[in-house]
């Protein structure tokens, strides 16, 4: 690997990290608006408000940064970075095509799961350091949600690892075959739902429930730091969708020309999934705390255990 290559890879990853969330964000603006029978942003940039998010960004950069006197200043300032950076790190190991991956780790899946869960720490830090009751509650809710949904997430992921017999993400994509759609469907659902919950996306947005606790951990944030949290949320969606695509939907593989059009297939899957994320937000009411925990422990965990059993049996019988 030459220096040039290294730089190229880094640039590509950073670019993906900066652009894809914006696309998803814009998609959310528009898709949500249309689902709710309105137009959404129409002015910024001219064509259907395509530059709305860029404008938002510029605005955020210029806004005043307020740190409440009650807050723990250092943790408060650090939290957005902690929330954001893990998603960027995760992107580095996601394969977008055959051989097209910034870093090919043998234990990619493990790495991804480990790094992703760091991100929630950002929310918890924010909630804890703000010195605000709503924030504290929100932070605790985030933590609890992570606790509850991490287990099914991990179990579902390990089901795929079992099926593929490897922890390498590229290896999983290569081992994937269409009938997994059927066989690993429960795992897919579990993974996707648990991932949403970890991101605190609606309908699992108890931690930021605006009607109860304003904006949870982010209540006290303003300006650019708030923007970083927003960016983290959308980056999270991208990462979740990318992972779901890689693990369950065959990543870069498509009905035809997988080798040539790999990245295209991959991105298509990511955006379809991102659309589903948005769709779920619009069409579902928020779950209560007890429902959240119940769903995790009484539905997802047993289901994921059953999926593991199924995977194991099928795999052994097949071999």
């Amino acid at each position: 690997m030459t220096i040039l290559e290294v730089v190229l890879r880094l640039v590509l990853v950073v670019a993906a990290f900066l652009i894809l969330p914006l696309l998803v964000g814009q998609m959310e603006h528009k898709a949500m608006a249309h689902m709710q029978a309105r137009l959404g942003p129409m002015h910024a940039g001219g064509f259907h408000g395509w530059a709305q998010l860029i404008a938002d960004g510029v605005k955020f950069v210029q806004k005043e940064h307020v740190v409440p006197t009650e807050a723990d200043r250092r943790v408060f300032s650090l939290a957005p970075a902690v929330a954001l950076l893990p998603y960027m790190i995760v992107l580095v190991v996601i394969p977008v095509g055959p051989g097209l991956v910034a870093v090919n780790l043998d234990i990619g899946l493990f790495f991804v799961l480990a790094v992703m869960s760091v991100s929630v720490l950002g929310s918890v830090m924010a909630g804890w350091s703000s010195g605000n009751k709503y924030s504290l509650l929100g932070g605790l809710r985030s933590a609890a949600q992570l606790m509850a949904y991490e287990l099914p997430l991990v179990l579902a992921a390990s089901s795929v690892a079992m099926a593929a017999g490897t922890l390498s993400l590229s290896g999983i994509v290569e081992a994937w075959s269409p009938w997994w759609l059927l066989w690993q469907a429960p795992a897919l659902l579990i993974f996707f739902v648990a991932g949403l919950a970890e991101l605190a996306r609606p309908p699992f947005d108890m931690p930021v429930a605006d009607s109860e606790i304003v904006l949870g951990p982010y209540t006290e944030y303003t300006g650019l730091r708030f923007a970083l949290f927003l960016l983290a949320e959308y980056a999270g969606i991208v990462v979740l969708c990318a992972l779901t695509a890689v693990l369950f939907l065959g990543g870069w593989r498509g009905p035809f020309a997988s080798d040539d059009l790999g990245p295209v297939w991959f991105l298509a899957k990511v955006f379809v999934l991102a659309f589903v994320v948005i769709w779920l937000r619009v069409s579902n009411p928020r779950l209560r705390a007890d429902q959240l925990q119940k769903l995790a422990w009484q539905v997802l965990v047993p289901l994921s255990l059953a999926q593991l059993a199924l995977t194991g049996v099928v795999k052994v019988v097949a071999s």
């Binding site: 690997m1 880094l10 990853v13 950069v61 210029q62 806004k63 005043e64 940064h65 307020v66 409440p68 006197t69 009650e70 957005p80 970075a81 954001l84 950076l85 790190i89 190991v93 910034a102 870093v103 780790l105 899946l109 493990f110 703000s130 010195g131 605000n132 009751k133 709503y134 504290l136 509650l137 605790l140 933590a143 609890a144 606790m147 509850a148 287990l151 991990v154 179990l155 390990s158 089901s159 690892a161 079992m162 017999g165 922890l167 006290e220 300006g223 650019l224 730091r225 705390a289 007890d290 119940k294 422990w297 009484q298 965990v301 047993p302 255990l305 059993a309 194991g312 052994v316 071999s319």
Partner: protein, 123 residues
């Protein structure tokens, strides 16, 4: 940038890049933004009213039971992953599978127990 350390070196590099990105953004922010703090502005936000009590008010932590459950169960994944990658390889077979089922069975019993004890329902 080859091999074991190479791969992680790249990741570390990316982390640095990310940190730089955040730092640059925040510095830009610092240059561009106004800074006019007033005591009122720096007050803790409580829907516009003056804050009641401290922000660090104690709240009952209902979630810790789940924390324990998580700690107990999620860490077991440590065993699951290495197993998952090899159990179907030649030479392992059914016995290995059954052993892991026993392991999963223990997890399931744990959940069952928690459920019967009413830990899982919101009190």
């Amino acid at each position: 940038m080859q091999g074991y350390f190479g791969a992680y070196g790249l990741i570390a590099l990316l982390l640095v890049v990310g940190a730089v990105f955040v730092a640059v953004a925040l510095s830009a922010n610092r240059l561009l933004r106004p800074a006019r703090p007033t005591p009122q502005k720096l007050l803790t936000y409580e829907c516009g009213v003056d804050p009641v009590g401290g922000g660090w008010a104690q709240s009952y932590v209902r979630y810790y039971v789940f924390t324990f459950l998580y700690v107990v169960f999620a860490v077991d994944a440590v065993f699951l992953f290495p197993w998952a990658t090899v159990f179907a390889a030649p030479g392992f077979g059914l016995a290995t599978l059954i052993e892991m089922f026993v392991f999963l069975g223990f997890l399931a019993v744990g959940i069952l127990y928690a459920w019967r004890k009413g830990v899982l329902s919101w009190a």
